[in-house]
């Protein structure tokens, strides 16, 4: 050990290791872990090793879960669920409070264990992960307490299968388990195979407090175990992990009436404007991409800097990079610890090498890496073109890209030039500019002058291919609750649409002037691309012709919908005015629509039209009232939860109630600012096509509602596969529902599929439709002088 006088020369920090004795003693005593099922640990069966990535040493052996293990866990959860849901909210709150308290009492134990298993610096597990875990259980104890009052009519979903990643093992467990339990669900959770140990310690805490058996079940294992859980008889799957696996899960759950939330990858922009506090922004980079070894789904991995300050910014960034300490994760002065395992390290190295090969310049900290263990020196790329692989692909390591922009518009364009949409960080001292960009960026979480700030009180989750669903806050609770499912109404099967002439079935007398319904795209009537029309029949008689739309018509309709982007920026009042006007014009033609529905063979035509008019009033009323919240999170922080429209949505309407079914779906979507491509009832599209003139006279901007008639499932398939459609609603049979969910995996669009329902009653309208038409963006705005 150097002497005091030696150290006075060097002024080094010296080693400051956190003691790990308590944890290593526990690990040695356990040796091999079984699964935690029905309140007890199973025998280990086949086991694999869990390693310390900083040293390569074996920490413990952990069971590899089989399909039978998963089935046993699901069975236990199923058995426990009704009793757990029946408990008064206050009783569940007491259990969650006990979990919070016990996590706090074991805070250092859990932090050390997390650091050993994951490789993250003890500072982070101690100061960030574990306190947030406790905070999450406290927060959700509160939701359990208030559930009936805050979510009237809602109840538990049932058994939740939860699959969590290795980057924040215990924190992700808390994000999954706390809301599920608060809502009255029971869970089967599979931790990542790289980092199962804190989940197993948590299982011991559940046992320690005497949590009713079967409420929390933990099955360890690799991707196969996860696949078995996805395939099991669960009511919900909640997954956090890669976009690639998210797609697989989306397909595997398609058509199964399994609720799904996905929190996936990201390539989040970190935008530094010329008027930013550059030192603050540099420190932000440290908290963004050099946090947790860059293994953070919401990491600000694409640094975009205004050209005017790029030189000054990079100089400071370089200096700050030089101060980072890389090494022993248990050392209290370590900034960057170990990469989670050798596989991930190899992936980072490969991507970084590819980035360099494609012309980017790598700048790395000149840190002395430990001789063994999974370490990677943090850094960033310059000279990196948007087409470079490291601009597009999530590295999931401590390496960002640094590029410049000229104007705020270009910053937004670059920020949104990604298939992901998880988070964004915006640095500017100009609040007008910062909030303008916050509104324009496609991301579920936006941090102004800050980054990677988390709190249980705010929702977290992505846009685009970063997934759907939210965790945390009120919006997160919604994803673990369900209203009673509306009673399905039978729908006649639509036969094949026939484009050939139907001789001998004239609908009207000779004096009738023929009306041909075209498609309605961009506010104009368009001929179908196919050149075909099909006969619309009522009681076997032809009452008109409708265009037989095809994939190109869908393409054109989506393009037209994108051009009508101004609708999303209009005020709720503006949209309400249009919807009221629409109701007014529909009312003026009430007689005509009633007659038309009557001719089409609709059972109660007058009632359907009256109901449609009321519906327009209802969504006009909601247009400027369905709004967001300010969450109570950190001190001196306005955390805005803003419901935003998806943008362009596809809507496949029911065959029944051709007017009311159509408007019941289209109106809430456009009331929230979406533009839609709607597929009206195939057997009776004229009820919808008759609306063209109503739309035109109601000042509805062209492109907000686009209507393509034709075969529903064929057109819905094209919509589901369309990468520039953000969400799709589908009303119809189970085959179509399954198809839409499965085919939506391509861009992970948000889906809502359901059977036909009674459109006249309470099931036909409500806040549910508005919640489904929006995604919540949380914007964090710290303040203070």
């Amino acid at each position: 050990m150097p002497s005091v006088t030696d150290i006075l020369e060097t002024m080094d920090y010296g080693p400051a290791p956190e003691a790990a004795g308590e944890v290593t003693t526990w690990l040695a005593a356990r040796g091999t872990f079984g699964h935690y099922i029905d309140g007890a640990f199973t025998g280990p069966g086949t086991a694999f090793e869990s390693l310390n990535p900083a040293t390569g040493e074996v920490l413990a052996r952990v069971a590899q879960g089989s399909a039978a293990d998963v089935a046993a866990a699901v069975k236990a959860a199923r058995a426990a669920q009704p009793g757990w849901a029946r408990l008064a909210g206050h009783e569940r709150a007491k259990w969650l409070y006990a979990l919070a308290r016990h996590v706090q009492k074991r805070e250092r134990f859990l932090a050390v264990l997390e650091t050993l298993d994951n490789g993250k610096p003890i500072r982070e597990s101690r100061d960030i992960d574990v306190p947030l875990v406790a905070r999450h259980f406290y927060h959700h104890a509160g939701w359990a307490e208030m559930l009936e009052e805050e979510f009237p009519g809602q109840g538990a979903i049932g058994v939740c299968g939860q699959i969590i990643p290795w980057n924040f093992p215990l924190l992700m467990l808390a994000w999954k388990i706390a809301p599920a339990l608060a809502a009255g669900n029971t869970v089967v959770l599979k931790p990542a195979e790289q980092t199962p140990l804190t989940a197993l310690a948590f299982a011991e805490i559940c046992a320690e407090i005497g949590l009713p058996k079967g409420v929390v079940n933990i099955v360890t294992g690799d991707g196969e175990t996860g696949a078995a859980l996805v395939a099991a008889e669960v009511d919900k799957i909640a997954f956090t992990g890669s976009t690639e696996i998210g797609r697989t899960i989306r397909k595997a759950t398609a058509g199964r009436a399994v609720k799904l939330t996905l929190e996936l990858g990201g390539k989040s922009p970190f935008v530094v404007f010329a008027d930013a506090d550059l030192d603050a922004a540099v420190e932000g980079v440290v908290d963004a991409i050099w946090f947790n070894q860059g293994q953070v789904c919401c990491a600000g991995s694409r640094i975009l800097v205004a050209e005017a300050v790029a030189g000054a910014f990079e100089k400071r960034l370089q200096a700050r990079l030089g101060k980072l300490r890389v090494g022993d994760p248990l050392d209290k002065s370590t900034d960057v610890g170990a990469i989670v395992d050798a596989v991930q390290l190899a992936r980072i190295r490969e991507l970084v090498a590819q980035g360099e090969a494609q012309g980017a310049t790598l700048h790395q900290a000149e840190a002395q890496l430990p001789a063994s263990g999974c370490f990677f020196a943090p850094g960033y790329f310059t000279n990196v073109a948007p087409a470079n692989v490291v601009s597009e692909v999530e590295i999931f390591g401590p390496v960002a890209t640094l590029t410049t922009f000229r104007t705020p518009d270009e910053a937004v364009a670059l920020a949104n030039n990604t298939r992901y949409g998880l988070a964004a960080s915006i640095w500017s001292e100009n609040i007008s500019l910062a909030l303008d960009v916050a509104a324009k960026v496609k991301a579920g979480v936006v941090w102004v002058n800050s980054t990677n700030v988390f709190d249980a009180g705010a929702g977290f989750g992505g846009y685009r291919e970063s997934g759907f669903g939210r965790e945390g806050g009120r919006e997160g609770m919604r994803d673990y609750l369900a209203a009673p499912r509306p009673k399905a109404q039978p729908e006649a099967e639509t036969g094949r649409l026939d484009a050939a002439p139907h001789p001998g079935t004239p609908a009207k007398g000779a004096a009738h002037i023929d009306r041909t319904a075209k498609l309605y795209i961009g506010g104009a009537q368009k001929r179908p691309d196919s050149g075909y029309s099909y006969a619309v029949l009522a009681k076997g008689r032809e009452i008109g012709l409708a265009g037989l739309g095809n994939r190109k018509d869908i393409r054109n309709a989506v393009e037209a919908a994108h051009k009508a982007a101004g609708w999303g920026g209009a005020t709720g009042h503006n949209r309400a005015q249009v919807l009221y006007y629409l109701a007014e014009n529909l009312s003026a033609r009430e007689r005509e629509f009633t007659d038309s529905l009557k001719a089409a063979g609709v059972a109660k035509p007058a009632l359907e039209v009256a109901c449609a008019i009321r519906r327009a009033f209802y969504y006009a009323a909601q247009a400027d009232k369905f709004d967001g919240a300010v969450h109570a999170t950190k001190t001196s922080n306005v955390t805005l939860a803003m419901p935003e429209p998806f943008g362009v949505m596809g809507i496949a309407c029911p065959d029944a109630a051709p007017l009311l079914g159509f408007l019941s779906l289209v109106l809430p979507a456009i009331a929230m600012g979406n533009r839609v491509v709607a597929l009206p009832a195939a057997s009776m599209p004229l009820a919808a096509t008759d609306l063209y003139q109503v739309f035109d006279t109601s000042d509805l901007p062209g492109g907000v509602v686009n209507i393509v008639t034709g075969t529903r499932d064929e057109l819905a398939l094209t919509l589901a596969r369309h990468d520039d459609v953000a969400a799709i609603w589908y009303c119809g049979g189970s085959a179509g529902r399954s198809m839409v969910e499965s085919e939506s995996a391509g861009n992970l669009k948000s889906t809502w599929t359901f059977a036909n329902r009674d459109w006249h009653g309470a099931d036909g309208q409500g806040r549910e439709f508005l919640l489904r038409a929006t995604q919540v963006k949380n914007i964090w705005v710290p303040y203070g002088e």
Partner: protein, 324 residues
């Protein structure tokens, strides 16, 4: 080895100052929450333990301006303080640490106490620092303030801690502030000048940055946070912003400016926190007394207790250590 503060101020060429350059600071952006976050995490990101902690605490002593600035100061009181500055740790602690010689960086007193301090410190190599310019408020006619500087220097002060006119900052009257500080620097002559910004009165971190920059442009050798008499004295966020101003001035001019936090720092833990700040933001050069001073009165007693514990393994009692 010799670990004292003597000869401080000789390692760097003195800041000659520059004419007022408003464009170096008038557009400065300082985000308060971000500065507070950085300050709050500095001491959670770095720590020193065992032998290293002992060495860092010793370093704090050699960078310390051991201070008495009270209305009831007497010459005897100042002599007692000087004795402690010359022999800040009890002999067994010194021996336990393997140190032969250690003094504080300076002793800091009122102008009327300079002569007594200089006499008491004769032969120790410890410089005498004097506050001046109508300390602490500074609201005296400029000619009287300049006369006070000359008086303190004549009495034997090696360093002068001046206070700025806060009104010039609050009014944005940068020319007046520059003129005033430049005149004070001239009055200091060979004595090093530390410019006290009284940041607790300036309130905003942007004001702190701007005042720092003007003081350096006007020729300050050190910038110093506080008199110890404001409502809020040295804080880490304020210090962080001053260091960034100091770094920026250095990048533009090449001059290396010293930093002195003062007021409210009472514990060994504070001593470590500020040193971590210096090392992280500026580097090891700013852990030496020529560029770093801690203005403190009671901190030394806590440091001595911690070092006693380090040497003996027993928790210490202050009454067993010599008073300052």
């Amino acid at each position: 080895m010799q670990t004292d503060g003597s000869g401080s101020g000789t390692n760097s060429a003195r800041n000659a100052g520059v004419p007022l350059q408003v464009d170096w600071f008038d557009q400065i952006a300082v985000n308060t929450q971000a500065a507070e976050r950085r300050a709050a995490t500095l001491t959670t990101r770095r720590t020193v333990k065992k032998q290293w902690q002992a060495a860092w605490l010793v370093n704090a002593i050699r960078c310390m301006d051991l201070t008495t600035l009270a209305g009831d100061d007497t010459e005897d009181r100042v002599r007692r303080l000087c004795a402690k500055a010359a022999r800040p740790l009890a002999d067994p602690i010194m021996a336990g640490l393997g140190l032969e010689r250690l003094t504080t960086g300076a002793v800091c007193v009122y102008p009327t106490m300079v002569a007594a301090a200089a006499r008491a410190l004769r032969g120790t190599g410890i410089p005498v620092a004097s506050v001046a310019t109508g300390f602490p408020a500074g609201l005296m006619p400029l000619d009287l303030r300049l006369a006070e500087i000359r008086y303190a220097v004549n009495q034997g002060a090696d360093e002068i801690d001046i206070v700025i006119t806060r009104a010039h900052v609050l009014d944005g009257n940068w020319a007046a502030l520059h003129d005033e500080v430049a005149a004070m620097r001239e009055a200091c002559g060979a004595a090093h000048m530390k410019a006290i910004l009284a940041t607790g009165d300036l309130k905003t971190l942007r004001n702190v940055y701007k005042a720092s920059m003007v003081a350096m442009q006007a020729g300050a050798d050190f910038i110093k946070t506080s008199t110890g008499k404001e409502g809020v004295n040295a804080t880490l966020p304020v210090s962080l912003v001053m260091l960034r101003a100091l770094r920026d001035y250095g990048e533009r001019t090449g001059w290396r400016i010293g930093f002195k936090p003062a007021g409210g720092m009472k514990t060994a833990k504070d001593a470590l926190a500020w040193q971590i700040l210096m090392k992280e933001e500026l580097g090891n050069d700013w852990l030496r007394p020529d560029l770093f001073r801690l203005g403190a009165s009671s901190m030394l007693a806590d440091i001595e207790r911690q070092l006693d514990h380090h040497v003996t393994g027993r928790y210490a009692a202050s009454f067993r250590h010599a008073l300052a």
